[in-house]
C-alpha cells in the first residue's frame, strides 16, 4: 500500500478542504517566520547556500541502496539539512524541495502543498532538530554523539512525519484510521532505519572531509529554542494522537464525520440558491444538462481554436 518514499507526498483530492486549509495557514506562518529568521543567521550567503543545498537534496534523493528483493532505500534529507544548516534554513530548503517536486514533477498535489510542507519541511525539520540537539547535549559534542544524533533524528522525524500524513488522511476521511495509521507507522519505521543509516554514512563522510560543515548545525541560531519546543510538541502530540486514533477509530472518524456534517451544513444554505435559480426544476437534472451543454461548448471552442491556430501556422509557412 504505502510502501515508497513517495507515500509522504499527498496528491490533490486526498485531503478535505478544512484539513488542507489549516495546514496551509500553519505552513505559511512558519515559513514566513523562517524567512525572516534566516536573514539574521546566515546573512548574505543565504540564497546561494540554501538554493544549492536544496538542489543537492533533490538530486540526493536519487542515491539509493539495495535493501532486499528489488526494493531500495533512499535519502529524504530533512534531518541532514537540519544538521548541516540549522533549523530555519532547513525549513526553507525542504519547503523548496517539496514545492518544486509538487509543481514540476507532480510528486504531491498543489492544493495540498501546505500539508506536504507541514509534514516534510516543518515536522521533519523540527523533530530532527529537537532530537539531534537533545542527543548532542547528552553525549557532548562528540563524533559518536553526532552519529547517534543523526540516526535518531532521521528515524524519528520520518516516523512522526509519516504519522502526521496518516492523521491528515484519516481526518479527511480518505483513509480509515484502523489501516492507515498502523500501516504508515510500521512501513516508515523500517524506511526510517534506511534513512538513518544513510544519514550516518553521510555524516561519517563529512566528519572526515569537512568537519567544519557539521559544526554549522550545532550553533544555536536565534529563535531555535522555538523550533526545539515546536519539535517536541509536534512529536508528542502526533505520537499520542496516532495510536489513540487507530485503536479508537470512532473518535477520529467522528471528527471526520463532523467535517462531513460541515459539508452537509452548507447544504441548507445552498438549497436556497438553486431553488432561486431554477425554481421547481430538479436540481440534479438541471446541473447534469448544464454540464453537458458547457462541455459541448468547450469542445466546440477548442476545435475552433485548434483549427484557427493550424491555419495561422500554415499561413506563416510552418
Amino acid at each position: 500500500m504505502l510502501l515508497s518514499v513517495e507515500a509522504l507526498h499527498i496528491p490533490d483530492g486526498f485531503l478535505s478542504l478544512p484539513v488542507s486549509l489549516i495546514a496551509w495557514v500553519i505552513s505559511i506562518t512558519l515559513v514566513g517566520y523562517a524567512l525572516r529568521r534566516v536573514g539574521q543567521d546566515l546573512g548574505e550567503r543565504q540564497v546561494p547556500m540554501m538554493g544549492v543545498l536544496a538542489a543537492a537534496i533533490f538530486a540526493g534523493q536519487m542515491l539509493n541502496f539495495a535493501v532486499a528483493g528489488g526494493t531500495s532505500g533512499h535519502l529524504i534529507g530533512a534531518a541532514l539539512a537540519t544538521i548541516l544548516m540549522g533549523p530555519w534554513a532547513a525549513i526553507l530548503i525542504m519547503t523548496s524541495v517539496v514545492s518544486i517536486q509538487a509543481l514540476i514533477f507532480q510528486d504531491g498535489g498543489l492544493l495540498v502543498l501546505g500539508a506536504n510542507i507541514f509534514n516534510m519541511a516543518i515536522v521533519g525539520v523540527a523533530v530532527s532538530y529537537m532530537v539531534y540537539q537533545t542527543i548532542l547535549k547528552i553525549t557532548g559534542n562528540t563524533r559518536k554523539g553526532v552519529l547517534i544524533g543523526g540516526f535518531s533524528a532521521a528515524w524519528l522525524s520520518l516516523e512522526i512525519a509519516a504519522l502526521s500524513v496518516a492523521l491528515q488522511l484519516v481526518l479527511s476521511g480518505t483513509s480509515p484510521a484502523r489501516l492507515a495509521i498502523p500501516a504508515m507507522a510500521s512501513v516508515h519505521a523500517l524506511i526510517g532505519i534506511g534513512e538513518g543509516l544513510i544519514t550516518v554514512g553521510a555524516l561519517t563522510f563529512l566528519l572526515s572531509t569537512r568537519p567544519d560543515l557539521v559544526r554549522l548545525g550545532k550553533t544555536n541560531p536565534a529563535g531555535s529554542r522555538i523550533v526545539w519546543v515546536l519539535g517536541f510538541l509536534l512529536a508528542a502530540a502526533i505520537a499520542i494522537a496516532a495510536p489513540l486514533a487507530s485503536t479508537r477509530p470512532d473518535g477520529l472518524e467522528w471528527v471526520a464525520m463532523q467535517g462531513g456534517f460541515i459539508d452537509q451544513a452548507k447544504a441548507p444554505l445552498f438549497q436556497i440558491i438553486p431553488d432561486y435559480l431554477f425554481p421547481g426544476v430538479a436540481n440534479e437534472a438541471a446541473a447534469t444538462i448544464a454540464a453537458g451543454l458547457l462541455g459541448l461548448v468547450i469542445v466546440f471552442g477548442v476545435g475552433v481554436g485548434v483549427a484557427y491556430s493550424r491555419r495561422n501556422r500554415q499561413a506563416s509557412g510552418r
Binding site: T204, F205, L207, S208, T209
Partner: protein, 237 residues
C-alpha cells in the same frame, strides 16, 4: 583466458532519439594498449559506458569472452576496471582505504585478501602509506591515482580510462604516464592528449559523430595530418 574487448556493430541512441553511436566494430587483443580519440561529443564516453554494461545498445559487446548482458553484469564489472574522468565522482568514502577496498568488499572477499589487495593497488600507483588519508584533501594528481587504485584492487583484466591526464600539471601527468606504462593490463583510454597517445599507445582509434573513422597504428595515423584535422585533432609537435 581472453583479455580482450570485442565490439560488433554497436549502435546506441539516446531516449530523445539522437544517435550517439553508429555501427561501431572494434576488436582489442589481450595486452594491447589502444587510444580512443576524437572531438568532444564524438561519443567516446558513451562507447566506454557500454563496456561494463552501464549503457546498453544494439549490437554485441563482449569482454574477456563474456557477452555483456543483465545476467553477466556482476562478472563483467569485476573484470573491467573503469576509471572515470572526474576523481571527485569516484571517491565517495571517507578514507582512501575504504574507497580502494570497496570493490573487494562488495565481492565478499575475505578480510586478509582485502587488506592485501589494497596494499598491492596502492603500491602499484605509488601511493603506499596513503591508506588512512582523507581522499578529499589530496591533490588532483593524487586523487586520480587513488581512483585508479580503487579499480586495480578488483584485479581486473581490462583497464578503461576516461581522460586520465586531464587537469594534471606536467609533473603529475608525467608520473601518471609512467604508472600506466608499467601496468601490464589490456588498456583502452579515451583522451585528447595527443603527446600522451604517441608516447604510450601503439594503436589509435578515431571516433567522430558516433562513427569509427580510423583504426590503425598510431605512428601511421599521426602522419596523416589531413585525417587528423578533419576530425578536430592536431598532431603533437
Amino acid at each position: 583466458m581472453h583479455h580482450s574487448i570485442e565490439i560488433e556493430q554497436l549502435t546506441y541512441s539516446y531516449p530523445d532519439g539522437h544517435t550517439a553511436l553508429s555501427e561501431i566494430s572494434l576488436l582489442i587483443q589481450p595486452g594491447e594498449k589502444v587510444a580512443l580519440v576524437g572531438p568532444n561529443g564524438a561519443g567516446k564516453s558513451t562507447l566506454i559506458l557500454h563496456l561494463n554494461g552501464i549503457l546498453t545498445g544494439i549490437g554485441s559487446v563482449r569482454v574477456c569472452g563474456l557477452e555483456v548482458s543483465k545476467e553477466t553484469l556482476g562478472r563483467v564489472r569485476a573484470m573491467v576496471g573503469m576509471v572515470f574522468q572526474s576523481p571527485d565522482d569516484q571517491l565517495f568514502s571517507p578514507r582512501v582505504f575504504d574507497d580502494v577496498a570497496y570493490g573487494p568488499l562488495y565481492q565478499g572477499l575475505p578480510v586478509e585478501m582485502i587488506q592485501e589487495r589494497v596494499e598491492k593497488s596502492l603500491a602499484a600507483v605509488a601511493m603506499s602509506g596513503y591508506a588512512q588519508r582523507v581522499s578529499h584533501h589530496l591533490s588532483t594528481g593524487e586523487k586520480k591515482r587513488i581512483a585508479i587504485a580503487t579499480v586495480l584492487s578488483m584485479e581486473p583484466e581490462v583497464l578503461i580510462l576516461d581522460e586520465p591526464t586531464a587537469g594534471l600539471d606536467p609533473r603529475a601527468r608525467r608520473s601518471l604516464i609512467n604508472l600506466l606504462r608499467d601496468l601490464p593490463l589490456t588498456m583502452l583510454v579515451s583522451t585528447h592528449d595527443m603527446p600522451f597517445v604517441e608516447d604510450l599507445f601503439p594503436r589509435m582509434v578515431i571516433l567522430d559523430e558516433g562513427r569509427l573513422v580510423a583504426d590503425g597504428q598510431t605512428s601511421d595515423l599521426m602522419e596523416n595530418t589531413q585525417l587528423l584535422a578533419a576530425h578536430g585533432l592536431e598532431r603533437p609537435n
